[in-house]
Amino acid sequence: MEPAAEIEIESGGQARLVAIIIIKIAGLLLALWYQVPQTEFVYAAF
């Protein structure tokens, strides 16, 4: 595979990842907006 093609695929994958991250952040902010109660970590030992 040519390096240029590699870079293109990698940047395409990164763009998709950035889009997913933005969507998740938006979802989290929406959940905070609706005041979803936070949960403590319950599996803590001792």
Partner: protein, 406 residues
């Protein structure tokens, strides 16, 4: 400052920028040491707490070096470490001069006492067996005090951590940082949104005073209660592990995975290869295997019963690790019984049924699906025992029996 707080996000962003400022192992080690010190200072905010943490870290390093230099062997190393930490735990839990009870509890909860212990026992045993050639103080400090693993683990092995921290070119690429951010977001969504959404359905209190719940509606609600805590625990625990793994990845460190789709497990042994994997591997290496070997050597007459006994003891310890209560012990023993029963059953069936026929039977879709249903139903029962006090479980059983009779 807790994993998931706004302060933590700001701290992580600054730390990531500083770590990426200069690509050298010594720089990464130094920055991580300062970050761990800062976190220790934040968590253990009073002088007695700080003293406690310092004593734990320094003494554990001294003991690990002693094991390394003296080549103390397996069972002695294990027994010595357990005695040390049992003594430390009992001392810390007792209200004593200069250390108020609340401070002791805070320190225990925040420092992740048990993860310290697991890591320390592993370092001592492996160092005594020459599996850890170098034990640098700063690397050891970063390993033990890694702020991202305090709450939920996972339990990383020292050589794996040291190799990553001390290697050249350990800085994450841009793509790896994006994957890490995605992982952290997964953790937030699981632990703070989905777990919070599932939690009310897992609580049986919601169905007692709701007279409208009858017939199928009541069955569905009971179904949600039965599997609810299992699902909640998975989301909560694996969410926190995602946060830890993503945080470490931002700093160029790869933590081992702790979960691998546990709901797909088809038998009790496979479940523990998918749930809290690093603890299962730790228990396998430092409890089950030495115990089973010892039983086979000294009590060969036990045969399969030796394996069953080793499972019961190992899972009993795993249960008690969560806390010295009857619920946790019962949780561990239920898993021990399941693992022992599965092992014995498997061995007996293998004697009677031809190997190839058995393999084809197990590969059948229906058998695999049935295995998953049975395994998850049993695990959900153990999670109820794990999660709710006995009185609450008793109340739930009484409620179901009363409704059944009516």
């Amino acid at each position: 400052m807790q994993l998931g707080s706004v302060e933590f996000i700001a701290f992580l962003l600054v730390l990531t920028l500083v770590t990426h400022g200069y690509d050298h192992p010594a720089w990464r080690t130094g920055v991580l040491a300062v970050a761990n010190l800062l976190c220790l200072y934040t968590f253990a905010s009073t002088p007695p707490q700080q003293l406690l943490v310092v004593v734990m870290l320094v003494s554990s390093y001294a003991i690990a070096r002693l094991f390394q230099l003296q080549h103390l062997r397996g069972p002695w190393a294990l027994a010595g470490c357990i005695a040390l930490w049992a003594f430390g735990w009992a001392t810390i839990r007792q209200p004593g001069p200069g250390l108020p009870a609340s401070a002791q509890q805070d320190a225990l909860a925040l420092v992740g006492f048990s993860y310290f212990m697991f890591k320390h026992i592993h370092v001592c045993i492996d160092a005594s067996q020459e599996a850890i050639p170098r034990l640098r103080p700063v690397t050891y400090f970063n390993y033990m005090a890694g702020f991202y693993t305090w709450a939920a683990g996972p339990i990383q092995r020292f050589p794996d951590f040291a190799n990553q921290l001390e290697a050249d070119g350990g800085q994450p690429t841009r793509n790896e940082v994006l994957v890490a951010v995605n992982r952290i977001l997964n953790g937030y969504i699981k632990a703070f949104v989905l777990a919070a959404w599932v939690a009310p359905y897992a609580d049986p209190a919601g169905i007692y005073h709701n007279g409208e719940l009858t017939g199928w509606l009541l069955c569905c609600r009971l179904f949600a209660v039965y599997f609810g805590y299992y699902v909640f625990l998975y989301l909560n625990f694996s969410g926190y592990c995602d946060l830890a793994i993503g945080t470490a990845a931002m700093l160029g460190l790869r933590l081992p995975e702790n979960f691998n789709s546990p709901f797909l497990a088809r038998n009790p042994l496979e479940f523990w290869q998918r749930w809290h994997i690093t603890l299962s591997e730790w228990l396998r290496d430092y409890v089950f295997t030495p115990l089973y070997r010892a039983l086979r050597t000294h009590f060969a007459v036990l045969g399969l019963a030796g394996a069953a006994l080793a499972y019961l003891v190992t899972f009993g310890i795993a249960g008690l690790w969560h806390g010295p209560t009857p619920n946790y012990l019962l949780f561990g023993l239920l898993h021990g019984v399941a693992a022992a029963g599965y092992t014995i059953g498997n061995a007996l069936i293998s004697r009677w049924v031809e190997r190839e026929r058995l393999r084809r039977f197990r590969a059948h879709f229906g058998v695999r699906a049935l295995g998953m249903v049975l395994c998850n139903t049993y695990v959900a029962l153990t999670m109820l025992v794990f999660g709710w006090p006995m009185e609450k479980l008793n109340h739930l059983v009484q409620f179901i029996l009363a409704r059944w009779a009516a």
